[in-house]
Amino acid sequence: MKSIADINAIREQMRSKVLIRDNTKEGETHVFVGMGTVGLEAGAVEVFNAFVDEITSREIKNVRISRSGALGAADKQPYVEVVLPGKAPVAYGNLTADKVKVIVDKHVLGGEPVTDYIVK
């Protein structure tokens, strides 16, 4: 059984993640990029910025891009979850800037997940 101190510690650890997830506005697509150490080594910062570039250069509105704590298995990095309004999160792995472009085209704009990149 966990003590009150243990539970408080877990609550504190989760707080930053919860704050980010609660931040999503109605009707907004939210992209979470896993930024654990393995993700960073694999190019998570580049993938985060590739989403920023795609979204801003095409003037797409109602999309929010956030850092997340470590997401996904080590061999699936960089790892991203895309959450369209009212839909379940879709997890993508081993992403690159080129793959981000396809995801923005087909999933963020078109509403259809890119099955080739989905983590199984």
Binding site: Q13, T37, L40, V45, T56, R67, G69
Partner: protein
């Protein structure tokens, strides 16, 4: 790994330690580059710091061990101080050949957290100095809820720090 990505790892640790304020300082003088990250988070014990430096998972992940290895391999060193309930500071010294990376690209990763956690980034080198303070985004760059503002910050930080660090 580039210095800018170690910075992301250290800021992440500070956020997970519930910091309200995080101060990042980067400096470059002569043969040495120094990266310092300090926070007012919950801090930790000396034993836990040692465990993190060895690469044990809890409580600071593998990032601190990686930073230590990178600093030492470049001829530098690392110093960590932390006190439970008060905060943590990390100072890593690197040899001048360690790549800086794109600091602006790394900084904006924390954009969504900046309304909750104040992030101040300062840089000083023989070429000049620069300060970014997340509390001044609205005043200096534009509406923080607009992604174009994020891009503006990224561009300025990348450009300025590359110049300050002599194109590294």
């Amino acid at each position: 790994m580039e210095l800018s990505k170690h910075m992301v790892d250290m800021i992440t640790n500070s956020i997970e330690a519930m910091a309200r304020h995080i101060l990042v300082n980067m400096s470059f003088f002569g043969d040495w580059i120094i990266l310092e990250v300090s926070d007012d988070g919950k801090g930790t014990t000396a034993e836990e710091v040692e465990a993190a430096m060895r690469g044990d998972k809890a409580p600071r992940g593998r990032g601190l061990a990686l930073l230590k290895d990178a600093a030492e391999q470049s001829g530098g060193d690392i110093f960590v101080w932390s006190e439970e309930g008060h905060g943590t500071g990390v100072r890593a010294t690197f040899g001048k050949d360690v790549p800086l990376g794109k600091v602006g690209d790394a900084l904006i990763v924390f954009w969504q957290e900046m309304p909750i956690t104040v992030i101040t980034l300062s840089a000083v080198t023989e070429n000049g100095a620069f300060v970014f303070d997340s509390r001044l985004i609205g005043e200096r760059y534009g509406d923080p809820s607009e992604m174009d503002t994020m891009v503006k910050v990224r561009k300025e930080v990348n450009h300025t720090l590359t110049n300050l660090f002599g194109g590294k």
